[in-house]
């Protein structure tokens, strides 16, 4: 049975943790400047080697965005699986290609990180459901 002092300790710990947690939040991102489109080949996606084709478009001008540093991270929708990473190479006209290995069937989420010189880096999450065995 908890003594009054222990109850107070528990209440204090809970209150402190809630206060600490409520005071913290992820910083909000700046307004997007890029349209990021991602396509996986082969399509439909299968377990094994794949390529993420990324098209970057400048939202202000509507023109392709060349010269960016682009990387791709593939995460499964289920926790506990190691993500896969790839650095994309420019293949011209604002397009980039990243070789990936999809390690398991199921639902994936592609996270594209794109940094155009002179602008803050941007990140997009693109669902890739139903990767087949």
């Amino acid at each position: 049975m908890l003594a009054l002092r222990e109850s107070r300790t528990v209440a204090l710990v809970v209150a402190a943790a809630v206060a600490l947690a409520s005071g913290c939040h992820r910083p909000g991102g700046a307004a997007p400047t890029l349209l990021v489109q991602c396509q996986i080949t082969p399509s439909p996606a299968r377990v094994g080697p794949a390529t993420a084709l990324i098209q970057l478009t400048d939202l202000a001008t509507g023109h392709p965005a060349p010269g960016a540093v682009v990387s791709v991270e593939g995460d499964m929708s289920h926790a506990g699986m190691t993500p896969v990473f790839a650095t994309a190479k420019a293949i011209g006209d604002g397009r980039y290609a990243a070789p990936l290995t999809l390690t398991m069937a199921g639902d994936w989420v592609m996270i594209v990180h794109a940094a155009v010189p002179g602008r803050p880096a941007e990140e997009r999450q693109i669902p890739l459901p139903g990767v087949r065995p």
Partner: protein, 480 residues
């Protein structure tokens, strides 16, 4: 005097001293409470991608796996360290419960329904992929425990409602430890029965000691069913006659003597149903991860013109948790009845007695499935915690190690197969010993149908776990 058990944790030098300390349970609960707070915070405020969130990573990869492993190697230590009960205990400082749980609800039926509801919700709402919903589930659990136990006396939530608790109670039948009386002769001379009534002592003597809130009277308690390892009886006993002692795992499923707070297993259809759902639930929880089941679900959706996920999943749950057990266990009981010549024994009596033999196999399927997640994602909590700390403004040296994982899925699959093999042996042995106990000379004929049933379930589990794991794709392809 009864022979002393091989191990008694309460008699061990350091651990024993800790367990006898009255602050032992809160000391176990506090870290899990802090972890639960961190999970709720990150689930609600952190990134909503499951592999990057503490709520989903710790709940669905680490917590449940470590829970089943601890049940296997020790006992119901997670109920002992339950953070919901710590908050409930604080709430009871302000709100004294006034009601007693209605007599007709003092069974496991309600908690069984809640266990099925949790398993169904896990699939329907894709809890494994939703940090926010996982956080809300944890909060709902806290709210439920506090609300119920603020209204109703004793440990009503634990005994009659908590789905995790029921899971732990069934699984702890295979645990190697139980809370038990050391010397029954000491209890025969005891007049105060503090282990169940509690003890009023002065503050100088350590304050009042609570008796068992689960209504388990130690001298008549037998096995781990309904025991939360809360240590109350150990602290209340004035004769220091209660320990956490070693025992033969699975033994409690064999005998059928009257148990304090429970009665006889053979007269408790709810307990038999709990064991059956525990076993078949292990299959349905793992079924959600393989491709052939998606194909079946998609076919059902097309054939029945049901584009929504809920009714398809509902059908699957009814098929696996109700229809399959009925179709398999009824003929098994019928065969036992015919082979032993006990035609006047009702089939339900046989089912109530033998259903518990499925528990070791069911447990091994849970263990195999969860071990797969733990082993393949063992270190994934490290980068998630690093990332969460950086969200709090606490930057640790070095990069966030998103490359940390675990062993390869192929190696984990071999371990899974070994575990369910052990589960099969455990179930066969339990069925044999129940047959010995119930049917005596006719034990060979009695056990045969149950051995066949165990082999069938083992084959199903082996097939299921040998399928390529498909981390829960969307079977309708539209997110439904």
């Amino acid at each position: 005097m009864a022979p002393a058990p091989a191990v008694d944790l309460v008699r061990l030098p350091l651990l024993g001293r800790f367990l006898r300390w009255r602050g032992a349970r809160p000391a176990l609960q506090m870290p899990l409470l802090l972890l639960a707070i961190a999970m709720v915070w990150h689930g609600l405020a952190g990134p909503q991608l499951a592999p990057k969130n503490l709520a989903t990573t710790l709940s669905w990869v680490h917590y449940r796996s470590i829970l089943v492993i601890s049940l296997l190697i020790a006992g119901n230590v997670f109920c002992a360290a339950c953070p919901f009960m710590l908050v409930r205990q604080v709430a009871r400082r302000f709100v004294r419960p006034r009601f007693t749980w209605p007599q007709r609800l003092r069974t496991k039926w309600l908690s069984l329904a809640l266990l099925i509801l949790i398993l169904y919700s896990y699939e329907l709402f894709r809890l494994w992929s939703s940090p926010r919903l996982t956080a809300w589930l944890i909060l709902a659990y806290f709210a439920g425990a506090v609300a119920v136990d603020s209204l109703f006396k004793h440990a009503t939530f634990c005994k009659f409602l908590c789905p995790i608790g029921q899971f732990n109670f069934v699984a702890s039948a295979i645990s190697p430890l139980e809370v038990a009386v050391r010397d029954p002769d000491v209890c025969s001379g005891c007049r105060t029965k503090d282990c169940i009534r509690g003890r009023r002592t002065t503050v100088a003597a350590g304050g009042p000691r609570r008796g068992c809130e689960m209504a388990l009277f130690q001298p008549l308690k037998s096995g781990n069913m309904d025991c939360t390892f809360c240590l109350d009886c150990i602290h209340a006993c004035p004769h220091d006659n209660i320990g956490i002692v070693s025992r033969r795992p699975g033994e409690e499923m064999v005998y059928d003597r009257r148990r304090s707070g429970i009665g006889r297993f053979s007269r408790r259809p709810d307990l038999a149903a709990l064991s059956i759902v525990f076993t078949f639930g292990a299959l349905i929880n793992a079924l959600g991860m393989i491709g052939p089941v998606y194909t079946l679900e998609a076919w059902l959706a097309r054939t029945l013109h049901l584009p929504q996920r809920a009714p398809i999943l509902g059908l699957l749950f009814v098929a696996v948790l109700i229809v399959a057990p009925l179709l398999l266990i009824t003929p098994t009981c019928l065969l036992t009845q015919r082979l032993t010549g006990m035609r006047s024994t009702p089939l339900t009596d046989i089912a109530r007695r033998y259903a518990h033999c499925l528990v070791p196999l069911g447990f091994s399927i849970w263990l195999a499935h969860y071990s797969y997640h733990l082993l393949t994602g063992l270190w994934t909590f490290v980068p998630v915690a690093q990332s969460a700390l950086s969200d709090l403004g606490i930057f640790l040296p070095g990069p966030v190690r998103w490359d940390l994982g675990g062993i390869s899925p192929a190696a984990a699959t071999s371990i899974e197969q070994f575990l369910i093999g052990c589960g099969l042996l455990g179930s066969l042995q339990t069925a044999w010993r129940i047959a010995e106990s119930v049917h005596g000379a006719a034990k060979r004929r009695a056990v045969l149908p149950w051995a066949v049933l165990c082999l069938l379930l083992w084959s199903a589990a082996l097939w299921l776990l040998s399928q390529p794991m498909d981390m829960r794709g969307t079977f309708l392809g539209n997110g439904n």
